[in-house]
């Protein structure tokens, strides 16, 4: 059973006048907790704070969010944590209220670890193309209909993820994950300045690569370049790393750098437990 807190109190509902519902006027995070402690919390809070700032929502203070997550996750070896912060309720209309009282929501689901898929996964190539909206690009906000429509394109449970291109045909990432490709020992991840979500695990991979002396680049690139890459993998905070085994007619076996990045992430997770 999931444990839910709304503004710190056990509750399973929010007001129908909340702007999170009315307009998707809020942001969220999904992360793992191990033995009641959220992994990579500082990064997640910094991202939550930054995303709130883009929308002009006052972010709840860190110690409150952390203690609520710890409280909801306590007693569970492994849990998936979802945190939402909305602009709260307001009178009808798009205008943000001048005195905004944000709503904070914590949902904790006890769970086993997700499958590792260390042999790689087949990936669906989504027909939906992401729109360019620089004012919201990178932000994990609650306007996620593009992701919903893209994820609705397939129902084969063997396909764990779908790849999204933008309206110009550039690769952006998975519906719920960030993408890296490997070219001659260099990591390349899509430029998300026009659309997509900049995840915490993407930032961790870039930092871990720097520490290991592996070059990483952020670039716009088309599908053909992904299909020609030596390796390709997807990351997010819940799944960790999934190698891509198949996309369109291209197949890959998990490559050396992909496996190395997976070990970096695992090692860092272990030290943060």
């Amino acid at each position: 059973m999931a444990m839910m807190l709304v503004n710190g109190a056990p509750a399973e509902s929010i007001s129908v006048t909340d702007r999170g519902l009315a307009y998707g006027d809020g942001v969220f995070r999904t992360l793992r907790a191990v033995n009641g402690q959220p992994l990579h919390w500082s990064r997640h809070y910094a991202k939550l704070h930054g995303d709130c700032a883009v929308l002009g929502i006052p972010c709840p203070i860190e110690s409150i969010m952390l203690s609520e997550i710890q409280s909801a996750a306590s007693g569970h070896a492994h849990a998936a944590v979802k945190v939402m912060v909305t602009r709260g309720s307001s009178p009808r209309g798009y205008a943000p209220p001048q005195a905004c009282v944000p709503t904070r929501i914590v949902i904790v689901e006890p769970r086993a670890l997700l499958p590792r898929h260390s042999g790689g996964i087949p990936v669906h190539l989504c027909r939906l193309r992401l729109a360019h909206q620089p004012a919201l690009a990178g932000v994990k906000h609650l306007n996620r209909l593009e992701n919903v429509l893209a994820r609705a394109e397939w129902c084969d449970p063997a396909i764990a993820e779908g790849l999204l291109l933008d309206q110009d045909g550039f690769v952006i990432g998975g519906t719920m994950s960030n993408l890296f490709i490997v070219e001659a020992g260099v990591l390349v991840t899509p430029d998300l300045s026009r659309c997509g979500v900049m995840g915490v695990t993407r930032a961790r991979v870039i930092d871990l690569a720097r520490e290991a002396g592996v070059t990483s680049r952020i670039e716009h690139f088309p599908l053909q370049r992904l299909l020609g890459a030596d390796e390709a993998f997807l990351v997010n905070s819940l799944i960790g790393l999934w190698p891509i085994a198949q996309l369109a007619d291209r197949t890959w076996r998990p490559g050396a750098l992909t496996q190395r990045v997976g070990r970096w992430l695992d090692a860092e997770d272990a030290t943060r437990n």
Copy 2:
């Protein structure tokens, strides 16, 4: 005090697991009710149904929605009605549930009529540019962060509306209204096949113009063409029609065709009461 119904029962909250909150996975309508009867209900329900179909959400049947609105609006001479339909709750993740149980929400606010602004209103030219997403264009869905960010650009209460352009600089409409311009006796309204919301009052104006023998066209056009137009006005289901009096350096006086369209709308409202 607002009257609220969730799935037909008096309630002021929805589940925090509702996909309307999680992803903005739903649609909405805003309309007027007079003496407990929603105005132009057939058009509003058809639009609600069509918008649900775009998202693959089973639309609640018409008689249920209508009776809930009538119930919530009864006893009020004038009311603003908001109807939301979401895809309901689901386990975590973007994948729409195969057995979807939509959530329907009716919020009725008793109110006086909105100001007529028959002399016209000053309009803010929004800096935010709307993204092109043909898969969602025209639909009044719950992903409205672009509208929120645009509306947050000004707080002068004398400015009742803002004008939105798309990423290519074409005119789309107001943050909460549709736009018409008048050129030599012809009505022109923006093509909304790439972004924007196709409102019910916009459709009514097009139909009423046809009945009156006035030509109307749906076209992509840039800001310069709006600034050069003989007349310009905004419409939606709550405000009716507001002439534009000022935008950037251009000023207008309410024109003859603008006033004529306003009379068409008023006359049709009166017969539907």
